[in-house]
Amino acid sequence: MSWFEKLIPSRIQTEGRTRSVPEGLWSKCSECSAVLYRADLERNLFVCPQCEHHLRISSRVRLDLFLDKEGRVELANEVQPVDALKFRDTKRYKDRIVQTQKSTGERDAMVVQKGFLMGIPVVACAFEFSFMGGSMGSAVGERFVRAVEAALADSSALICFSASGGARMQESLLSLMQMAKTSAALARLAEHGVPFISVLTDPTTGGVSASLAMLGDLNVGEPKALIGFAGPRVIEQTVRETLPEGFQRSEFLLEHGALDMIVDRRNMREELARVLAKLGNLAHPVVEFETPV
């Protein structure tokens, strides 16, 4: 409760006021708790203007911010999940799918789009973390492979923004095999000399980090993203000691040689365009900074 609210007599205080900030007007930084004007935050690509924390964003917002406005086409959206195992924990997987599809508006945890990055043709995909923790099941694996195939067909670079807890438990071994499937597709891409840039965002762990996300020709991290094979809680339970500050964050991975670079979200377009232009022996892309809305 803020000092101001404490001054207000309790009978005129609105209950839960602080929580029910009108959607789309005010946001709170999940790191420093600063209350931010939503429009400012958006203009700043969902990076907290106070503490530079990179807030988690949806797959669609991600691609909107990354690709040029013109010439975007969605790919592989027809691929949808099924409950092949009739998996049931406290809830049926089938029901979870329907429920999550409703709440997120996505059919599964990955969105693929073909388009341009500062005029350079690319295929870009992004994990949807709010869809069952961005977990990779058969549909996500298939969508990723179709993204790879689209990149191969046009010889355009592939960029993947990962945000995932790992393989989807409800599809059991079928999910595990998506690690093999996505990695094998990337091996074909590499054989044909088509570049793949993997951008690891908060969080990228488990089966996704142990397959496609670590296989970039360039591995790029967003600042302070949690990246690792095992989750910090599992490690803590195994080694029975508290983990050092900053363990499994992008900066830690850069230090240990797992990432090529850490790129601020606000520079992502320009940095990656400059990389792709050089790999493709193209002229320097337009460096005049532009912010797509």
């Binding site: 924990d89 093999a180 142990a210």
Partner: protein, 319 residues
């Protein structure tokens, strides 16, 4: 070594104890009780058959982790000959949770790679309970590439609870090590047969398991997560491991139904640990059969078929 019995095998254990007792008596008395012993042995076999004819997924998981279950080095002794272990990843260390080297299968030179668990406390620690660190996966990759250069088929024996989740493992890139192996195995220009001999624990198992054939022993398991791990995440209680094991469908039989496993290798009555010799014989015969098929194929075709196989994995619908 005395046979260890699992909980669900207790009725068999009791019968076997009775047989032992009679044998003991028989040794120092003149009474002929061999007839009685034979009868009880027959009963024990019938009972074992009965119990093993309807095992639950959880019971199979316990068999896969049986402390007396044959491990990779046991099969290197019985199925293969002329084994020479090769060590180290050439970068950091030699991981003893992953073993590998040159051997012969019925005279054919092959590369064998597998996770290795320990038999007693000291060895378990030394082998890190069969949980490899990045250097283990990098050693495996080095040996696979070595095999490729000399045209040797690769046989991997999978038996691990998973890749080790530790601080050092993360620092040295556990994710990258596993991912790189998946990438490399997809294009290896030599046959690769993977066999799950015990526990197939998630990415740590898959990291040596992508190839032209996936075989499983009858009571081996293979899963994206351990039943205990799955239960504590989805049911918020590790006690639900039994239900999780069932839901995950981690047995050879269920996985074959999903077309993920090419062949299930039958185990002797009571499990592989009851009769290593006949288990080894069955494993050897099956390996030779698949190896002959794969070696008859031109390399391009082999790699193409492998990629088609990997490409087709998964169940989804299009709308």
């Amino acid at each position: 070594m005395d046979l260890k019995f699992l909980d669900f095998e207790q009725p068999i254990a009791e019968l076997e104890a009775k047989i032992e007792q009679l044998r003991f008596v028989g040794d120092d008395s003149q009474i002929n009780i061999s007839g009685e012993i034979e009868r009880l042995k027959g009963n024990s076999r019938t009972l074992t058959k009965k119990i093993f004819s309807h095992l639950s997924s959880w019971q199979i998981a316990q068999l896969a982790r049986h402390p007396q279950r044959p491990y990779t080095l046991d099969y290197l002794d019985t199925v293969f000959t002329d084994f020479q272990e090769l060590h180290g990843d050439r970068m950091y260390a030699d991981d003893k949770a992953m073993v590998g080297g040159l051997a012969r299968l019925e005279g054919i030179p092959v590369m064998v790679i597998g996770q290795q668990k320990g038999r007693d406390t000291r060895e378990r620690v030394q082998r890190n309970y069969g949980m490899p660190r990045p250097e283990g996966y990098r050693k495996a990759m080095r040996l696979m590439k070595l095999a490729e250069r000399f045209g040797l088929p690769i046989i991997t024996l999978i038996d691990t609870p998973g890749a080790y989740p530790g601080v050092g493992a993360e620092e040295r890139g556990q994710s990258e090590a596993i991912a790189r192996n998946l990438f490399v195995m997809a294009t290896l220009k030599t046959p690769l047969i993977a066999v799950v001999i015990g526990e197939g624990g998630s990415g740590g198992a898959l990291a040596i398991g992508v190839g032209d054939r996936l075989l499983m022993l009858e009571y081996a398991i293979y899963s994206v997560i351990s039943p205990e791990g799955c239960a504590s995440i989805l049911w918020k209680s590790a006690d639900k491991a039994e239900a999780a094991a069932e839901a995950l469908g981690l047995t050879a039989e269920r996985l074959a139904e999903l077309d993920l496993v090419d062949e299930i290798i039958k185990e002797p009555l009571g499990g592989a640990h009851r009769d290593l010799e006949s288990m080894s014989e069955a494993l050897k015969t099956t390996l030779l059969k698949h190896l002959a098929d794969l070696q008859a194929m031109p390399t391009d075709k082999l790699v193409e078929l492998r990629n088609q196989r990997i490409r087709s994995m998964g169940r989804f619908r299009e709308a």
